[in-house]
């Protein structure tokens, strides 16, 4: 997969939002074919301010406010990519992307295949996703299962400030369409990104062991990574030394990193916000079981959002996988009975 080396930066980004902004700025500065487009991305800088200042710096043709119509936005981006541009599309909120699904599934995901590779579409589709921000209905969906079920799409989701920069640069550089899922509740998470020593940006398709451990592996991504790291710390009191794997990329799926970890620990729990039935965790659990059957001391378990429409803000804390639910599930891994 494409690996992009981050160039040294002069301003330390303080938040994931700023890292994403910086990634687009750098990509636009280096490549005149990169165009940012969507509703409110121009003067307003996006409702989350992720595109702040881009229209001012690169002009309204490079950071383009479009009419409010997601199918039109993505459909126009298809035509722009057909002509050699690299559109970076903002979908504003997870559930607002649904009107664009026909374009996404019938054209974006399939154009390379339909044309025998003659017409790849280098489109990056940024989708702020997930809950935990007290948003009202239609503002907190975790829609990754729809995307990962669509062949032809690459699906990535950063969980750290550094990855937000690196994965977005790699997504924009990719010759394939990428669904870039932004965990919106981490937009304001603090940076540990040192501008003096920028790490090599991860290529798409590489998972990372965020915390080494020996008792069991927590497999997670995006908004659930900080929760898993917190759970791993808390689990130490219970005598559990948990390893935490951050997938970073759902498609392609870095099976090797996951399998190596589970073979070391012998136990695995998959954690994500989206519903469990038909969710990414079901696929991961199946793959881990196939590849690690003789290494497993217990069935692969999952901690996911409930299989319900996303709840109203006052109930979301009961729905989202939290530290306690993860610890309770880890306790079930003592498969002695």
């Amino acid at each position: 997969m494409t690996t992009v080396a981050a160039k040294p930066v002069t301003t330390k980004p303080a938040t994931m939002a700023q890292a994403l902004n910086r990634a687009m700025r750098d990509a636009m500065a280096e490549d005149p074919t990169v165009h940012v487009m969507g509703e409110d991305v121009g003067a307003l800088g996006g409702v989350f301010r992720i595109t702040d200042g881009l229209a001012k710096e690169f002009g309204e043709d490079r950071c383009m406010d479009t009419p409010l119509a997601e199918a039109g936005i993505l459909g126009a981006a298809v035509g722009m990519a057909m002509y050699g541009l690299r559109p970076v599309v903002e979908m504003q909120f997870d559930a607002f992307a649904y009107p664009a699904f026909e374009q996404l599934i019938s054209h974006v995901a399939k154009m390379r295949n339909r044309t025998r590779g003659a017409m790849p579409l280098p489109i990056t589709i940024r989708v702020p996703y997930g809950g935990g921000i007290g948003g009202v209905e239609h503002h907190c969906d975790s829609s990754e299962a729809y995307y990962v079920a669509t062949p032809g799409l690459t699906v990535v989701t950063p969980a750290t400030v550094e990855d937000a920069y690196g994965l977005l640069r790699a997504s924009i550089a990719s010759d394939d369409p990428v669904i870039f899922l932004e965990p919106k509740r981490l937009y304001w998470s603090k940076a540990d990104w040192s501008p003096e020593a920028p790490a090599v940006v991860p290529g798409i398709g590489k998972a990372l062991v965020r915390r080494a451990g020996t008792s069991a592996t927590l497999i997670t991504y995006g908004p659930s990574l900080p929760v898993c790291l917190e759970a791993a710390e808390a689990a130490r009191e219970e005598g559990w030394d948990l390893e935490v794997v951050d997938l970073r990329s759902l498609v392609p799926f870095d099976e090797e990193t996951v399998v190596a970890s589970v073979r070391r620990t012998g136990r695995a729990v998959v954690v994500h916000e989206s519903g469990g039935f038909g969710g990414p965790g079901a696929e991961i659990a199946a793959r881990v079981t196939e590849r690690c059957f003789h290494h497993l001391e217990a069935p692969v378990l999952r901690v996911t959002g409930f299989d319900i429409p996303y709840p109203p803000p006052m109930l979301e804390k009961h729905h989202l996988p939290g530290v306690d639910r993860i610890l309770d599930t880890v306790a079930r891994l003592q498969w002695e009975n």
């Binding site: 009419p67 126009a76 298809v78 002509y83 390379r112 295949n113 025998r116 690459t154 398709g205 099976e255």
Partner: protein
């Protein structure tokens, strides 16, 4: 509380006047003509370009033959399906002829003939319908987007491409084709709106052939004409006789010129008729009568032009025969091309999903490879053991 009692229900309750408001443009110049625009058989035909019209005639005859040959190929099982454009050839040919080399055509699934008239190899144009691959040509090489099966979804692509070309300073016009049924789709609306807001160099050609499979126009829209839809987006709507190739060529050329010179998009409704069924899988007798079909057959695009040109002495028997001969030549080449058994490589299933193969697909490709090898070996063993 009654309606009258509701605050703000009557104008008399206003304490202030709303800010001044006026429509952004005068709608009148955008409105279509009340009758479809016609040239053939009218005084306007005096200004016909003989060379262009002879070429149009030859293309129409070739197009009719292409339709007949493709339909015959479905009966022979060579094509899975063929959506015929018999009766609509003038729209298809005019759309192809008004474009320059650098321009782009965005056809729907019914518009293979437009792609062929633009110069695409007839066999390549039918790959999708034959079933050996989804698109049989490189869209960039021919500047013809893949034939689009989902309705109206290719229209926003045309807008995006035209917009991108303009951003790059290139002289490119996109012509997007859609049927009357497609005008009900959300993507039609969004494409028209984007094109008008961006003043993109796009021409939308709606072929109103009377039916969306079986549903007649009256059940499709309540608008006076489809061309009226353009007004709401802020672009001109033109209503044209879709069987009159001179009128089609003139109106399309004017729209292309307008787009090329920065005048923005135009929407054209070509009033025409689908003489044959939706596809070979459709039974058109269930939803329309013979009388209607016969009336439209009497308004045939080829005959209209032939009458005009022969009356004016611009076409003679030799010219008619030459067009027929050229059409037969094309049909023979098409038959030959389609009768050659297409070669498909099963491993192509995995070849064009991603730029770089994923581990998952590599694994599945290996599985298929093993199945193919096993089948090949089995076949070889059978042959060895065959006493004959």
């Amino acid at each position: 509380m009654t309606v009258q009692e509701l605050p703000g229900a009557g104008a008399s309750h206003r304490s202030t006047q709303p800010p001044a408001w006026r429509p952004r443009t005068d709608a009148a110049p955008l409105l279509p003509d009340p009758e479809p625009y016609r040239v053939l058989g009218t005084p306007a035909a005096d200004r016909l370009d003989p060379e262009l019209m002879r070429r149009c005639y030859a293309e129409l005859v070739r197009g009719r033959r292409y339709n007949a040959q493709a339909t015959a190929l479905t009966r022979q099982g060579r094509l899975a399906v063929y959506p015929s454009t018999v009766g609509q050839e003038a729209c298809e040919i005019a759309a192809a002829l008004v474009l320059e080399d650098q321009d782009w055509l965005f056809p729907s699934y019914r518009d293979t003939l437009a792609a062929v008239a633009r110069g695409l190899d007839p066999v390549q144009a039918l790959t999708l319908l034959r079933g050996d691959w989804h698109t049989g040509y490189d869209p960039r090489e021919h500047r013809i987007a893949p034939l689009s099966t989902p309705l109206a979804t290719q229209l926003p692509h045309a807008v995006g491409l035209a917009h991108a070309a303009r951003l790059r300073g290139d002289d490119v016009v996109a012509l997007a084709m859609v049927g009357d049924g497609g005008t009900s789709e959300g993507d039609f609306h969004e494409a028209m709106n984007f094109a008008a807001v961006w003043q993109a160099p796009v021409v939308f050609l709606v072929q109103n052939n009377g039916f969306a499979i079986s549903v007649p126009l009256a059940k499709q829209t309540a608008a006076p004409t489809l061309a009226h839809k353009a007004v709401g987006y802020g672009m001109p709507g033109r209503l044209v006789d879709g069987n009159d190739i001179a009128a089609m060529h003139e109106v399309l050329s004017e729209a292309v010129r307008r787009a090329r010179s920065g005048g923005g998009p135009t929407m054209i409704e070509a009033v025409t008729y689908r003489i044959e069924a939706h596809t070979n899988a459709d039974d058109a007798t269930r939803y329309r009568g013979d009388a209607e079909v016969e009336a439209w057959k009497a308004h045939d695009p080829i005959e209209l032009l032939e009458r005009e040109l022969t009356a004016r002495g611009l076409l003679d028997e030799a010219g008619i025969q030459a067009a027929k001969d050229a059409a037969e030549e094309m049909a023979a080449a098409l038959r030959d091309g389609m009768n050659a058994e297409p070669v498909v490589d099963p491993m192509d299933l995995f070849a064009h999903v991603y730029a770089e193969q994923t581990d998952r697909l590599r694994e599945q490709a290996a599985m298929l490879r093993a199945e193919l090898d096993a089948a090949e070996q089995e076949a070889a063993e059978l042959e060895e053991g065959d006493p004959s």
